[in-house]
């Protein structure tokens, strides 16, 4: 019998809810802003109302597998509670899953948003047809997700996949996680911005200074555009992004020998600017990569740009209840 599921992308800014068919088509998507300021209960009311609306409207598509919700934070998989979620104040230690399940009467699965994005790319994007995948999501921070043997690797307490906090340079900039020189400090949108402002401050970047003067701020996109136009300061920033990604990917390739590594998130739009250095570093730092370069007719290690853009998370979230159903 045909089935469909509801995927939710519960961000700190936007709330997106989609009905997704078993083949991965987005049947309908509702996008609103997450009105975090109006409190947890308000957001949960809005979310369940939209879920119910979509579930009702698409019931001719088959049975509802359930609801998957991607959340920016750490989830205790055993209780379905958020352990930590800086962007959703007041949600910690609240039985989110249980509460939504009670209201909807259907299976609800919570997942970390970066894990959901990895599952989305694995299902329908760059990793389609692969057995395993490691994904880095370069956004405001750097998130990660590991798909091993076709399912999300959660680890002991659901905290696996915190790939943004792998050390690239022990003496690098301090990170919010308490460490220093994490890849998040080199390859997130925040880091690209910080590096640009540093260069402007050091008067090493006349073109970036002009952008700053004109737009009152610098975004990762500005830096990318300048890098593609050949501006030396911007080129150097994306070279740093590529270097950091290369160091971290080389480590994963040596440790896990997976068939595929995917780079996604907003900053991955700068692929052309950072990928050359990234590949150069991976080749040098991972003999496993060097021994498994993809060639014709032979399986190799693939490092690819994500393909689903902003829909990876919502598609991966919808996939969760489908997989759970198959497993049960």
């Amino acid at each position: 019998m045909a089935y469909f599921a509801i995927g939710v992308d519960l961000g700190g800014t936007n709330l997106r809810i989609a009905a997704v068919s078993e083949r991965g088509e987005i049947l309908e998507i509702i996008t609103t802003s997450t009105e975090v300021g109006r409190g947890r209960d308000y957001v949960i009311d809005e979310m369940t109302a939209s879920i119910q609306k979509l579930a009702e409207k698409h019931k001719d598509k088959g049975a509802l597998s359930g609801v998957g919700i991607g959340v920016p934070g750490i989830i205790d998989m055993s209780t379905g509670m958020l352990r930590e979620s800086p962007n959703l104040p007041g949600w910690s230690d609240y039985p989110v899953r249980e509460e939504i399940e009670r209201r909807l009467g259907s299976r609800v699965i919570l997942e970390n948003d970066a894990n959901a994005a990895a599952l989305g790319e694995f299902w329908l994007g760059a990793g389609k047809g692969m057995s395993d995948l490691c994904m880095l999501t370069l956004g405001t921070g750097v998130g990660g997700g590991l798909i091993l043997n076709g399912t999300v690797w959660h680890g002991m307490t659901g905290m696996a996949g915190e790939l943004g906090h792998i050390t690239v340079d022990r003496d690098g900039p301090p990170c919010g996680c308490g460490s220093r020189g994490c890849v998040e400090q080199y390859a997130s949108a925040t880091a690209v911005k910080r590096m640009a402002l540093e260069k402007v401050g050091e008067r090493h970047a006349p073109e970036l200074a002009k952008v700053m003067e004109r737009d009152k701020e610098i975004t990762a996109k500005h830096v990318f555009q300048l890098a593609m136009a050949g501006d030396p300061a911007a080129v150097e920033i994306f070279r740093t992004v590529g270097e950091a990604l290369g160091v971290v990917l080389a480590g994963f390739i040596n440790a896990l020998n997976l068939p595929m590594y995917v780079v996604g998130g907003g900053v991955s739009a700068g692929w052309e600017a950072f990928a050359p250095r990234m590949f150069e570093v991976v080749r040098k730092r991972s003999f496993v990569y060097a021994a498994t370069m993809p060639e014709k007719n032979r399986k190799g290690t693939i490092i690819a740009k994500a393909e689903l853009g902003g829909d990876a998370g919502i598609l991966g979230s919808a996939r969760l209840p489908m997989l759970a159903q198959r497993g049960s």
Copy 2:
């Protein structure tokens, strides 16, 4: 019905062959030197003769599950051939598994020696009762093994677990793998020796210089003994070992969130000298570790010293055919 297996530890220097009961008791062990100089066929003759002798002698213990052979090198799991093995010249691209199976008429499984050691610790040592484990073996080089969901994680081509070549310092000493600053350059016996000689050369280590004069060489054991006696140069060397291990373990903990990480191999005898700095760095660099510190009545992340010493590999090797039998 009771069963037993033969485990082989085929090192570049020593060849050890043991009959192991299903409960993990070593029933008998034959130790000889690996006469690499006499050629591959000679070593294979010796090895199969010893295996046959043990198999015959212990057949009253039950059925023979098969033979597991731990090899220092990279194995193509699909063909049972060695891809690379610097310590066993002439063995590459030779059908080792097939040839030994033909001679013995029983199931033979080849495994990388560090993976076998990880499986040994998982079965009977520090990781007993755990679901997953990551092991670093600090020997001449640094090897590694990952046990996920109870079995060795091989990755796509059997090259997973090359944990010795994770970058600790991008500008560190060059490594044989082609990279720089790999953990092997800080935490192997070779690295401890190199750091000691560097300090002697810089005239910063009077006590190490005395050892050098007396014994004509410095071993990791010498450095450990001096570190335990409080010699500043030796203390600093083991602090570097701990720092490097801490950086790498923090990365694995953030990425994989496993319940247990084991440090084994010869240099792990220096645990008391390097562990304090290692734990300090892990606490600082892994918020996943900080959030999962082992407490009473709660599962936590454990970092432990290996328990089986030099027998980890041979026990893990013997375990391989037992697991394959259960799986088949």
